[in-house]
Amino acid sequence: MTRYGFVLWTAARQQWTYRAELAMRTIQMALFMGVFMALWTTAFGVSGQAELSGYTVVEMVWYLAMTETITLSSSRVFIEISEAVKAGDLAYTLTRPLSYPFYQVANSLGNSAPRFLLNLLMAAAVVGLGMRQVAGSLPGLLAFLGTAALALLLDALVAVLIGLLAFWIEEVMPIFWIYQKLLFTVGGLFLPLEMFPDWLRRVAEWMPFQFITYVPARTFVAFEPEFVLRAVGGQIIYVAVLTGLVIFVWRRAQLRLVVHGG
């Protein structure tokens, strides 16, 4: 376990060498949050209501700041994996006393961590200045950090699964797009689950996607210990399910392994 921890640490340090570039990229986050603030201030104004599905305008904007922080920090490790699979470049990692997919999970988390930090700072700065109010508390922030870490772990496991699909299909990008769109919708990236029609909400609650975006964001804006406990329980169950799936897929993949070069 400490080995994978050190892989994570090394990956984070390598990512940190790009910090200037990463900081530039958080401008995207500032733009998104600017648009969301304008949009939801108008929407609440037009509706004439102080709350929509239990969210005030300030809570709504902070909710979006947190979902965006996670998705903009999400893993791109499937690109690295699929390219390595196609080019037969797994050789070095495979000569180590490590599990390749879990090495990549650690690598992915290491890549996400610095981006998460910078995105969070930018989102908080823009929304804090724009709304002049914080919809969150210190326990909420701590619970958010914990659930967000599990969320990024789930995201990394999904990304590794998508990357491993390169053993069977030529191009894995479309699979990632489907995953991303599921986060946008049933994951609650743009709308909290409370705003969904009842039937859809019930469906979404059973899926893993809400544990990646909705759960941490909701934890931040409305800290309720009972919700957090149930959410963390659900996250852990999905971590176990996805881990099992990664192991299964990797076993099958190994038999298909072709490492190129004469």
Binding site: T2, R3, F6, V7, T10, R13, Q14, T17, Y18, D89, L90, A91, Y92, L94, T95, R96, P97, L98, S99, Q254, L255, L257, V258, V259, G261, G262
Partner: protein, 337 residues
Amino acid sequence: MNIIQINKLTKTFVTAEKRSGFAASLRSLLRPQRREIQAVKDVTFDIAAGERLAFIGPNGAGKSTTIKMLTGILYPTSGSALVLGKTPWRDRRELAYEIGAVFGQKSQLWYHLPPADSFELLARIYELQPAAYRERLAYLVDLFEINDYLQSPVRKLSLGERMRCEIAASLLHRPRILFLDEPTIGLDVVVKQRIRDLILELNQQEGVTIFLTSHDAGDVEVLCRRAMVINHGEVIYDGKVSTLRRDYIRTKTVSLKLGEPWEGFDDPGVQVLKHKGYGVKLEVDTGATPIEEVIGRLLARYAVVDINVDNPPMEQIIARIYEAEGRIDDLSLEEGE
């Protein structure tokens, strides 16, 4: 003691043949045309502890595929292999502690971080004790003379500097066997020689078994005592490097650029291959006249502007092996492909 035992190792890749044109690719989708490629065929050999073995052959001969089966990366189609008493593809992770690998065309170092960071990570991965790791690192840093760029990001190193770090990285955990897959590819002559010296020193100091693949006959001559030649997945020669050299690599080509016109040269065993203006290409049978003597006399007789000495290409060595075995048929068959 044999630490590598391979018996009838075979690897067949099945690839889906892609056809051009829309209708044809649609057909491929429905009924894929599969083609079997035998990358390695019935390869059998043993390697004793401390040996330095060169595994040579042209590109695509099956060298890397063999290394990848012996390091546990690839599953063979059939046959068996024991490396340090373990079946590599079944006990890959346990075996990893005892073997090291260097792939000349790939990198194991983190590109934006200094090599020291990659070494540190490897120490954790192989669970080295901090004190033992520091001692080992100091030894390797000294041996490979990499102290000056231990703290510079890998992307700023030259290929030769990087390659020395790559090899050092593969030795941190004191492997008993070192697999080197084309370790000198793309390096200039001086750096190549340096790398060969280091590998040799390591073998002599620590008794590390060296399994080296190369398509450069120079690597083989300097470094190894035993050579195996592989072509189209089959081992066609297994014996001493000295015998290989005497029988099959007996010639070298000398390319000269002169400052004056060529007027011939008549040492025994020297043949003019090509001659145009001030440029001339000679083939030297080193059995008849040692190469040093030929060069010495050439330099004494002519004003030489530039000189290059090369080994015969791999293909030519293989052709001679087939010739000697009376397998001319095989050769013409392959050329006809």
